[in-house]
Amino acid sequence: MDQKGFGIIMTQEPILTARGLTKRYGRVTALDNADFDLYPGEILAVIGDNGAGKSSLIKAISGAAVPDEGEIRLEGKPVAFKSPMEAREAGIETVYQNLALSPALSIADNMFLGREIRKPGPLGSWLRMLDRPAMEKRARDKLTELGLMTIQNISQAVETLSGGQRQGVAVARAAAFGSKVVIMDEPTAALGVKESRRVLELILDVKKRGLPIVLISHNMPHVFEVADRIHIHRLGRRLCVVDPKQISMSDAVALMTGAKKPPEDALAA
């Protein structure tokens, strides 16, 4: 990896790229010719002021919204997701800010929501019976793997868990099924100090498994702690990509809010 000053030039091929994404909601342009690059094995933080279009960018990548223009490529191949389901099938998992969990369902049921395992044989194909033991075992394995087995009962309802535990379930779900990319939207926003620490460790754990992560966050200390590169979004497009080791938090905030112009070489990143 060759790094110089602000702009970072990666020698590898990016795993996920977007070029010229545009999304309009009525007369509001949420995405204005935005670009995006994610490289294998990295944590890319996406920061930007409110209304900069971060959410729209993430929605376009995760299939929750269809961009009006532009192209998204996953491992070099163009993709066009029409629903979160299609993005998931392609290997892109998203942990949404509201977690997208069903409170009344159990942890295991939640982890497998939308991709349940059915029993083998006629029980599964004819009676469509769920293979609860298999689902619970895989859910338990995944939670243990991520050091989350403080949860005693895998069949307890998600609504009986604390905020941090719920976040853990959502992250474990993404890590269990994400084969190519994991996107996390404000994973620490609603958490206490201790729980945030656990989630940051989880993020690094997921990275260690070789999965690249897109992290959207308002929390600068968290971003600077775990991110390998920071994508700064401003006015609906990518302003620049910076290296957290080469820039201060206040500079990042200055760039994000427009108080400072990015140097020439960062624009092309």
Binding site: L101, L105, L113, L127, T160, V193, E201, L204
Partner: protein
Amino acid sequence: MSQIQEFEKVLSSSDTSVAAFDEHGKSFVKRAQHFLHSTPAAVPLIVLVLSIIIFGIAIGGRFFSSYTLTLILQQIAIVGILGAAQTLVILTAGIDLSIGVIMVISAVIMGNCAITYGMPTILAVIVGLAAGGACGLLNGLLVAYMKLPPFIVTLGTWNIVMATNFIYSANETIRDADVDAQAPLLHLFAMSFRVGSAVLTAGVIATVVLVGVLWYVLNHTAWGRHVYAVGDDQEAAKLSGIQTKKVLITVYALAGLIAAFAAWVSIGRNGSISPSAAVTDYNLQAITATVIGGISLFGGRGSILGTLFGAMIVGVVSMGLNMLGADPQWKVLLTGVLIIGAVAVDQWIRKVSA
């Protein structure tokens, strides 16, 4: 692990016992709340057993006779089936005001097809079931794609179906004797079995089997879990990759189909087929059974077994008061109390926290 930040250094010395539960310290009430939270059919079952005991003591052995108890089951069969249909819809946080009249129009269509048009009875039944399913499908499409509130959609279809029923049938009743003579299959669910003094009709057995099948589907298939997830939080369900529109459409269509099945059972129970049954409040009775059965009107919570118990509670109360010779209005009054009590209990159980 990750680089710990300055302000977090103190964490290592902080109290680590926050997440520990003290099971023994929990009051009985708290534990009861937890139990009821995880076993939603328990409340209606307890109420059902209590009401049987209370009326048993008040009336004496007469009430406990298997004849009386099975008679109650016969009386609640139709409301039980309609309640099962209503349960599916209410679990998705919706409501279906039209299933009562869907049942009536389906019965009229079955009768007309078999007797007036002289179709083979089995074909007439299929046409009736299809008509009920189609009405439900219309509800589902309007709720899922037009995104209209279920209350409004089904209030509309309730009126539309009721009017269609009267226009189509010219309010002519098909007589019991004609059904018996030309289409005895329509009376299939009137078939009864005697076990001692207990009388079970095919309609009662069908009700129990239907609820059993739906219980299995709701708890042990992906579709069933999706019904709960959609009712719990539709947005979250969608982001989890559930095709929420498909779930809603199938739920309303299935509710319509079950209502048409209730039509077949009702022909067995009533003998004749009367379009004016559309003015009977089957629908509110079904909603009452569902609510007393502990199905949350806010969606996503409750067990369909509760609905069956809820219907039985209403049956036991009305039979018990009947046998005591009470004014029938007492039954209405008590039903009202049960409804409010059930919803209050539901709210209390919802407040459960870890």
